[in-house]
Symmetry: C2
Subunit: 582 residues, 2 copies
């Protein structure tokens, strides 16, 4: 009943028509061999894998969960075979460097792949979820010896990777990390370290899919200072290069709300051997390479859940027959309350896909554009867009799935219809890789206010180009007017917050979440305007006409929330009392 | 870790100080023996039961769930014993008629009881959940023979009851019900019927708590017309008066998202013996007695979940230590993002409790006020307030629990911390007893537009009295101004919708959900103004000062959502297209 159909045509629309990526590829040496046809073939194959291999085992895995016996995890039925197929398909290598066996394809296609696999089976996706981040991290900060040892194995997916940050007393606040490393024996890879400590919430801390697991571990060297600046990053494999078992143990797995196919592990390191990645005490810098890559991946999970919810809700509503308001019998997709729900999901999905893929496209520009100034500019935009995409999309993914559930009525609450699992699975994405509240503070304080709004104004200038492009087309006025209003509200809010930095230093902290959602809607207004501009000349085709309808629905029905967010942002004098006595 | 402390002082504040119920009781013959002290004793005992008996078995029951073997359900460990304690405490009888063994206490106290037991253990509460509704239904529509047979058993709780409405093809739309009844043998209770059909989503369709189960079943007599008007209501017990087993079978139980301790059953009636309740073909009228009572009960579940979420989030945040924004270490309740979350929950809880208890108080007036005109007026207000309370509170309960989860970070996603169960449990309340979308349409079309807005204007006139009472107190201006603006927005929206009834007949259907939330905020604005007025003279006491802070927070931070809702309501020309091709 619960199926996934990768929305390939929608993806092509965004990649080829809205973002015109093939044109950009042709002008980028790194991607000059790539064209629209090849991109379509890749996405079609990815879609087959998501639809045919991952989606069918998603529901059963939720009921079965993982098993932990004496330190060893067994993943749900079908998980290891699906991973084998994933590796054989070459999917881990998609956007990796050919120097290490990768295919060197754009992050844009990797983002589309991630959207599909997360939509089809979020729990399973957690296993390869950190592969690319670990690859990026070792590639950027590892010694040559570590690169040689790990990068090909990670590129091929022969080994999987984990990220060991949290400890019981250190969740959002990594300065509390206590795991320590002491000097170990000298090895071929340089000085080794002996790591001791406990880590929690380690996705895939143990599993039965790969022969080895590459753990990246945040810890403190003997001479470390307290706080964030005393953290170092180690790589510690489950099996050491000599084949012996490292002193790393999976102490148990969590009973969670969702993603039950993912083994969320508590890990013990008991003088486990590890090697430093990057400089001593600069572990957070090295780790953030991994985090940023992971954040865009998480954003794609939010979009994937929304897409999954919308396509299944649409299918169900077009088959479920009940009495209509006027007394006649019909499918419930004719009922205004259901229609509004379905269009909300769809309009959000389509707008978010433009923003998400654009972010991935900018990531490609930041890495591969021939011009250094363009690379720097793209990197600034990515820095700004990543926390918005992570928090806004995962909020909307969970919220949207929860709203979609209502389409099924009572059936929605029952496991076999699938949507309740999507609600549960999607919830975690608002927490991990930095809670959405942390994303909001990162966005407003570090990414926007720290440079006096410079990067944000650059972003708004890019969005404003859409106003110019659409200026001569009266049919676009409804979209460009909405975008203009959103840009103005964003600018006003940032201006006010910046002006009050000294006088009201807490203001930005109080309203960071609303600000992030406000900016999310500004980006949506841009995405809808851009989609409508591309689709309008083709509305004789009902498929394109729907694109315009979805964009119009967004402007008319969803943007009013933005006003509410900006109103809360601008309420400088709203009181946020200390917590009271109750 | 997950505990419930019945918020008795908050309850007393609302009952005694805000609503001044003891004064009303003294003037009502039915309640003239009741005073504040007795009310406090009753609630204290109810609180002990909820805190000490129900809450401790809630988490384990979620993991254990119900078992179904060959038609028989076993409920989770501790459930039957808790029910026995509930019966021995006399709780089912609280608001029942002394003529049938009841205690004749106000619905107001019953509402507080229901808030507590739902907060402590929603799954368990499902079993006695329909007891009072079945009692009301048989009392209002049953023959004397049926009353004699069932009312005392239901009052005492010796037998439990179910409501059999839904069928696979008939969820929100009861006109699709196919279960039929044919003429059966003549019995002492009049003509019996033989009922045949399948019912789904029957809470407590089978259980191991009581010797007998009283099923109320919606079905069609042989001469029934199609549609809603052809439905009749039957009572069909699991065991017949002669002690033999009736032909009713529990075919299985659902795997659900939450309330896993509740056996949501699929039922077969195979020429099961039943007796008509009320007139032939007037089953819906009889059933609606049960539904309205059940809707207020469901509203209390929404409030209970919100209270449970807020008190546990508060407790956790006051203990969890992480780095603060300024680099120092402290408990996370000092962090602005957490503080805003906690105050949102608390402010909503406190406002909703005033609305909920007021609705219950009006229900008491509707039944027991000495003056017939007052009874009629109270009944009109209840008719209007019930769908708002059901939909608004259950939306907020689930939404609030979901927001509260964020306070725990990663721990929130783990079962043992409790909040993820509250998110899952609370979700069902948005669906059952009429989905929230159905509540919204019922409110706007049937309760408001059908009488040209007369009942709503009466309600607004009652709310406006608060403006007059507060007129002379400058400290109240912030609250009365907000209330005045909300009342004006409500009036404007209804005026516009009524004026466009002919010209834009679909408009109200498109915006019913937003309208309901808008009116919910109008009621909150009233509740906060009223609470603030009562608390302000006592702010030297920090407990009362917090009441004012919660009300102010609501006005400043939560009412902006109302503007957004009214904006969507007023968007008469916003397009809601037919569902497209994707």
């Amino acid at each position: 009943m619960w199926t996934y159909n990768a929305p390939l045509r929608d993806m092509h629309f965004v990649i080829e028509e809205v973002l015109q990526a093939p044109t950009a590829w042709a002008q980028t040496p790194a991607f000059e061999d790539l064209d629209a046809d090849t991109s379509r073939q890749i996405l079609e194959e990815a879609g087959k894998f998501a639809n045919g291999v991952l989606a069918p085992i998603n529901g059963a895995a939720d009921l079965e969960g993982c098993k932990w016996v004496d330190g060893n995890v067994t993943t749900p039925q079908g998980y290891p075979a699906a991973y084998k197929a994933y590796v054989e398909g070459g999917w881990p290598a998609l956007a990796c460097d050919p120097a290490y066996g990768g295919q060197g394809l754009p992050q844009l296609l990797n983002a589309a792949l991630n959207e599909m696999i997360a939509a089809a089976n979020h729990g399973w996706t957690m296993y390869p979820g950190l592969l690319h981040g670990a690859y990026d991290c070792i590639k950027a900060h590892g010694s040559d010896a570590l690169k040689t040892r790990y990068l090909e194995k990670l590129t091929s997916g022969e080994w999987l990777a984990t990220m060991n940050l949290s400890e019981p007393q250190a969740g959002s606040d990594l300065s509390q990390v206590r795991t320590k490393a002491e000097v170990g024996p000298r090895t071929d890879d340089g000085e080794s370290w002996l790591i001791t400590g406990s880590k929690i919430w380690i996705s895939g801390g143990d599993q039965d899919m790969t022969d080895n697991i590459v753990h990246l571990v945040l810890c403190r060297l003997p001479d470390a200072t307290a706080g964030n600046k005393g953290l170092s990053l180690m790589v510690a494999p489950k099996f050491l290069p000599d084949g012996s078992r490292n002193k790393i143990r999976c102490d148990g797995i969590e009973k969670k709300m969702g993603i039950k196919g993912s083994a969320t592990s508590a890990m013990s390191f008991e003088a486990a051997t590890g090697w430093l990645v990057g400089e001593p005490h600069k572990g957070l810098t090295a780790m953030f390479v991994m985090m940023n890559s992971a954040r865009l991946h998480v954003a794609m999970q939010g979009l994937g859940h929304l897409e999954m919810a919308q396509q299944n809700a649409h299918a169900y509503a077009s088959e479920r027959v009940q009495g209509k308001i006027n007394g006649q019998i019909g499918t419930i997709d004719q009922h205004p309350a259901v229609r509004r729900n379905l269009w909300s999901l769809r309009s959000l999905c389509e707008g978010e896909r433009v923003i998400a893929y654009w972010t991935a496209q900018l990531l490609d520009e930041a890495h591969s554009h021939p011009d250094a100034a363009q690379r720097a500019k793209a990197e600034d935009l990515v820095a700004l867009l990543t926390p918005v995409a992570k928090a806004f999309f995962t909020d909307n993914g969970n919220r949207g799935a929860n709203e979609a559930l209502q389409v099924w009525g009572g059936y929605g609450y029952v496991h076999e219809y699938g949507i309740e699992q999507t609600v549960r699975d999607s919830r975690v994405a608002m927490i991990y890789e930095g809670t959405n509240e942390i994303q909001a503070i990162d966005l407003l304080q570090r990414k926007i206010m720290a440079d006096g709004g410079a990067k944000l104004l650059d972003l708004l200038a890019v969005l404003e180009q859409e106003l110019e492009v659409g200026a001569g087309v009266p049919e676009l006025n409804e979209f460009t007017n909405a975008l203009r209003a959103q840009i103005a509200a964003t600018r006003e809010a940032v201006g006010a917050l910046l002006a009050a930095r000294e006088a009201a230093p807490d203001w930005s902290l109080r309203v960071a979440d609303d600000f992030l959602r406000g900016l999310g809607f500004t980006l949506l207004a841009w995405a809808w305007a851009r989609s409508a501009r591309v689709a309008l000349p083709q509305v004789a085709d009902a498929w394109y006409a729907d694109k315009v309808k979805a964009a119009r629905f967004g402007v008319q029905w969803l943007l009013p929330e933005a006003n509410y967010r900006w109103q809360r942002v601008m309420a400088r004098n709203a009181v946020l009392p200390e917590i009271g006595c109750n």
